[in-house]
Symmetry: C2
Subunit: 401 residues, 2 copies
């Protein structure tokens, strides 16, 4: 096959709030090759990512992403790797490029899986898609009582693990954070796993993070996620030296495999989390998952948006027996749920798995998305270099056009 076209659909809720809730907009990607269609999603600023695709070149190591993708051969997984390497090289100086390419790469796998009638996880060499225990990923409430009630309702929905993050956490006193943590534990009960996401709130302030460790241990929190700036590796290592029982987790900010490797090599983390929609796609996430297994670090997906993104994120560690939990967007905005017709609902055991279906196994519901579509037009020197395409009528992932 030959890659004929890449289309971007910038979707957004009518109102964007200042919550740290990434499900308020989406950049959906459709790739077509020889009449076969694949879908992917960037977890990234939509307009900026589109610009990084269509931009005129700056020089030989700063090309728009389109220049390494359109017209390329796509006959197997090696072609996806080859295209990814070309983007890395040709767009070396275009910082946004990995975020743009991530959604394309996901769509390439989906397309290939549909063409071969194989799930992506099998194309990656795995023979099984094991069930994972999803943890409900939500924001802390503005006050402990709201957090408690949120936790209670999630357990009632069948979740056996819950992660609270962002909101007021880390912005006030040590005691206020302890109250939030205890409320979270009380809400979900003693049996469920509790995870806490600090959302980089302490930047590089190891002492501030360390003050929260006793409360995290008292509440038997499994991991403390992203206490620091995504690149502040030595701060992670310094915090780990306090010897708390709570493990450190991070990696969602990684925009290439090396960043995740560095956090594993030098940051003393116990859980590595990558977002398939940012790190360069499913192949890169797979590389990280493989490296994590070899180091006794648990690989976990980062997914806070749609079930298309969720399926993509599950593909790279579907068969990994040591990675038993996965992030699950438990309270996404309506847009995120509207993107796919089908959803990865919890089974009777409260578990989910990467679908045993061609490609990503998800049906993009283009009919439901019209109201969310934002119309983008980019012109350089009077020439239109990007104009949003209308949403296609065909609604099934991987359906031929």
């Amino acid at each position: 096959m030959r890659i004929d076209s890449v289309d971007f659909f910038y979707l957004a809720m009518p109102e964007i709030t200042m919550d740290a809730d990434g499900s308020q907009d989406a950049l959906l990607v459709r790739v077509q090759a020889d009449g076969v269609v694949g879908w992917g999603e960037c977890e990234a600023s939509p307009l900026t990512s589109i610009a990084a695709f269509v931009t005129p070149p700056s020089h030989g190591a700063c090309l728009g992403v389109a220049d390494s993708v359109i017209g390329e051969r796509l006959d197997g997984p090696d072609d996806i790797r080859r295209i990814a390497a070309a983007v890395t090289r040709n767009s070396m100086d275009l910082l946004q490029a990995p975020h743009t390419f991530s959604g394309i790469e996901i769509a390439l796998w989906d397309l290939l899986g549909v063409a071969r009638q194989e799930p992506v996880w099998r194309l990656l060499g795995q023979t099984l898609s094991l069930p994972k225990t999803p943890y409900a990923s939500v924001l802390f409430g503005d006050d402990p009582q709201t957090t408690l009630e949120r936790g209670r309702s999630l357990v009632a929905r069948g979740f056996r693990a819950v992660k609270f993050g962002w909101g007021p956490f880390g912005t006030g006193t040590v005691e206020a954070d302890a109250d939030q943590i205890m409320a979270a534990r009380e809400g979900i009960g003693p049996e469920a796993a509790l995870l806490v996401d600090a959302g980089q709130i302490w930047d590089t302030d190891v002492a501030a993070a360390a003050q929260r460790l006793p409360a995290l241990d008292d509440a038997s929190v499994t991991w403390l996620e992203e206490p620091f700036h995504a690149h502040a590796i030595s701060a992670y290592a310094d915090l780990a030296r306090y010897g708390a029982r709570v493990g450190l987790a991070g990696g969602e900010g990684a925009h290439n495999v090396h960043m995740a490797m560095n956090l594993m090599s030098y940051g003393a983390i116990r859980f590595i989390q990558t977002d398939t929609g940012r790190i360069g796609g499913i192949g890169s996430a797979r590389d990280v998952a493989d490296a994590a297994r070899a180091r006794d670090i648990v690989y976990v997906n980062h997914t806070f948006t749609s079930h298309l993104a969720l399926s993509a994120s599950l593909q790279s560690f579907a068969s990994d027996v040591d990675s038993t939990i996965c992030e699950y967007p438990a309270e996404p905005r309506a847009l995120a749920l509207a993107i796919t017709e089908n959803h990865l609902d919890l089974d009777d055991n409260g578990q989910i798995a990467a679908p045993d279906a061609p490609g990503l196994g998800m049906s993009v519901d283009t009919a439901a998305l019209g109201d969310y579509l934002r119309d983008v037009r980019i012109e350089v020197d009077g020439t239109e270099i990007f104009r949003s395409s209308p949403l296609p009528v065909s609604t099934t992932t991987g359906a031929t056009t």
Copy 2:
């Protein structure tokens, strides 16, 4: 003062070649506050960087850069630090943001220096602007003879240090690279310092890089720059273990201070190079220079474009006695030279220094740039969110409008 406006001027040569020559286009930034003007430059994809400035928000940690800049107070250096921290936090998930902000930050320093009639290096707490020995930074020739002649002509122009990079280097055999290195040495003679820039050609292949070490040592090369992917820290450390005399250099890809710190902490480099137009601006470059000094690592600027960018890059280590050399774009495209009326020409000792003049001390030559200006228009849902401004008539950096 209050930041009233930020304007971007996307400039480009009529033809963009596939050479790894970043001087083929430019993103010039003008900031205005209370009638005072400052100029800066992003070393980044212009269209993508503009999009990252004006983009609608995705969520509370993925805002366009404009949202953290426009309307902010600017009364002293602490305000620049505060704005930089706000961009880091508010645009955490917008990958391109540091590239966009770098040019703005540089313009903020220029503006502040003009308002106070002080050079930026003095605003940074330095009392001296020491002369530096510029090394001519050029590409390898397509063949050794071209490289030899290029080196000869640069020494004839007064350069006492020359760096060759990219082109065919690393793409062929070990012997071909040795021939290039020897031709470079022959061209510049035995006295001049010789530096080699591999342009990330070996990605993570330590063995391939190691095969070049004997030739580099035979030619008394001072440093081997960017043998690997900008994030491949452990590959740097592994190559350093070969114990060659040639030092390792890197860091131009750093888009925040932490990335440069990680390369220094874990990569066993002897020279840290940052591009002020990418790392977040002059304040970030200054932080890296300070950290380098404390670790006995030599700080060097990365600058391959205009003399506005060159002046900006010199500010952060103007008084550093251990950093005696600086990169100097020796064969830039016409556009890069046209950006400023004045240039940092070599003095009789073959040296340059950060100007002892208000701000960056450079006069932007807007009258010369009209032919290079590219007209950009970005529309979302029928509303124009960016349109290129015409170049202003006022031509002096920091002149009041």
